[in-house]
């Protein structure tokens, strides 16, 4: 599965999912003017909501800039706060993971990906932060998660999968398997977003059912990322649906170089 013939590296990454030769009919059917307008409104709205959510996350991260051992969440982590490395791991996790959430802006935008090197270098930054900082520290503090064995398994598994998916995405890119790279990145980012979804589920569940605080924590420790992974798989199916059912003609064209699924 080498480089696709006739596709230059810069052209390769200009759309998401990565460009593949499409049957002419599919391209034609794609865009009428009103559809385009609605799509633009839709994506703009989503960008705004995401930005607002990041603003909320930023406020959470900023609470911890004092580095005090009893701030916010650490208020109820006093049993673990003196474990060697816990504080270092916790604060590293908070600040590095917060940063990682910005990657959506540049990495999933087809337009921004046209800028030479931007996708590559910011992508590496994302991957290295996840693999070396946010992921391992997440695993470490996951061992001491509140809510007992169930939430500990949830958070540790989340960290392991997050690092694994990110490494896979990186390796796929190295191997120039762009679509696989995209697939694994969607999965990796879905897990990164669990920082947001976990909190969103919490708010929703508490507003609806008013459960005990640690009960809801045990639930969202799983729901926060398993839900995202399911959504990610559905999204991958949707994004790559054209490839799943190519016309006989294109299939014949694609087979030699493209089929690696």
């Amino acid at each position: 599965m080498g480089v696709r013939p006739g596709v230059s590296p810069s052209a390769r990454a200009t759309v998401f999912p990565p460009a593949i030769p499409r049957p002419a009919a599919a391209v034609k059917a794609k865009s009428s003017a009103p559809t385009k307008l609605w799509a633009a409104i839709f994506w703009t709205a989503i960008l705004f909501v995401y930005t607002y959510t990041l603003w909320l996350m930023l406020r959470i991260v900023l609470q911890y800039t004092s580095l005090r051992p009893d701030v916010a969440f650490l208020e109820i982590k006093q049993d673990y706060i003196d474990i060697p490395g816990y504080r270092l791991a916790f604060f590293t996790h908070v600040f590095s993971s917060g940063f990682v959430l910005l990657a959506a802006y540049s990495q999933f935008s087809a337009k921004l990906r046209r800028i030479p090197g931007l996708h590559k270098w910011l992508g590496r930054l994302y991957a290295y932060i996840v693999i070396f900082l946010a992921g391992p520290t997440g695993l470490f503090i996951g061992f001491f998660a509140n809510g007992g064995i169930s939430s500990r398994i949830a958070f540790c598994l989340l960290a392991v999968l997050w690092v694994s998916f990110t490494i896979l995405a990186l390796l796929k890119m190295r191997a120039r398997q762009v679509q696989d790279h995209a697939r694994w990145m969607v999965r990796s980012y879905a897990l990164a977003l669990s920082a947001i979804t976990l909190r969103a589920w919490k708010v929703a569940i508490i507003a609806l059912f008013h459960p005990h605080p640690m009960d809801v924590y045990r639930i969202v420790a799983w729901l926060g990322w398993v839900g995202n992974l399911i959504a990610a798989e559905l999204l991958i199916l949707y994004l790559f649906r054209r490839r799943a059912r190519p016309t006989p003609k294109t299939r014949a064209q694609l087979l030699p170089t493209e089929v690696h699924l």
């Binding site: 998401f16 909501v49 909320l56 406020r59 959470i60 009893d70 999933f108 605080p213 959504a231």
Partner: protein
Amino acid sequence: MIRVTLLVGLIAALASCNKPSAPQANAAMPKSAEVSAAAVSPESASAPQVTKVNASPAESGATQDKQNIAPDAKPVASSDQRLGYYVGYFEATEEDDAKDPMYSNKINVSIDSISGDTVTGHSVCAGNNRPFSGTLKQGKDGVFDLVLKEPGDDKSDGVFTCNLDPKARTLKGEWVANDKKAAVTKRSYELAYTTFKYNPRQVLGSIGEAEVYGGKMSRRGKIEAITDDAGKYNASVRVLKSHDVENMYKRDLEVMRNTIYARHGYSFRNRAMRDFFDNYVEWYVPVSTDVSHELTDVEKKNIELLKRYEDHASTYYDRFGR
């Protein structure tokens, strides 16, 4: 365009269910950082007027001079059947509803000494400890008529007019506020002689669901309640661990912590706590407005832990953040 933000967007839409513009819960609340067991004030942090529990003896002495608070003098053991604590409900009979009155409080009227026709004592009620002095007259059937005046230098002062029955050991009568514009200008009471001794083994027993005075109403129209969890552990006896308390509601934690103070006879200023202990806890007797120097080491430790979880719960329980 940015198709993957579909996922992001769904997620963010969910996140926006959160109430972002909600004010920072209780800005006035001390962050637990500063809260050492010693400095934790009883009741809830949202009651700013709460007396600091750990006022040093010197400090509390000064306060007492200034506010003319009677020392928590225990009545001298005496053969005089008239002396002692008279405890019961202090119920409003004339009030101004517009001023948010508290209709009923548990009061402890302590008759400390009687010499000739002079009576001195103090009353403890709603976080106030006020001295009084007055006169006593022999009435019919061995009952005494008392007129007891509070000093008048506090806005809550007034005059008790009551009958003391030394046989039945009851004190009944009326109280009239000096301040005619107070929320409650007249109260009546029928108090019974009561003794008090700190007993760390006192427990709350079954609560069921006690509605919180002034509690928040949920979206389903249910008022915040105190549950049986509040009495799950005796925080005066057992050293609590994080996992004992981490799954408890904020109000239950608050009640568990304040039960420590209640065992010592602390009189609550905070209305929610006062309402609960006055009305749901039979053994509770208000005897003092400062019990800080009577807390045991176990109690201090538990107060610190519980306060930390309370603060955390009130700031973060239903919010997006943390």
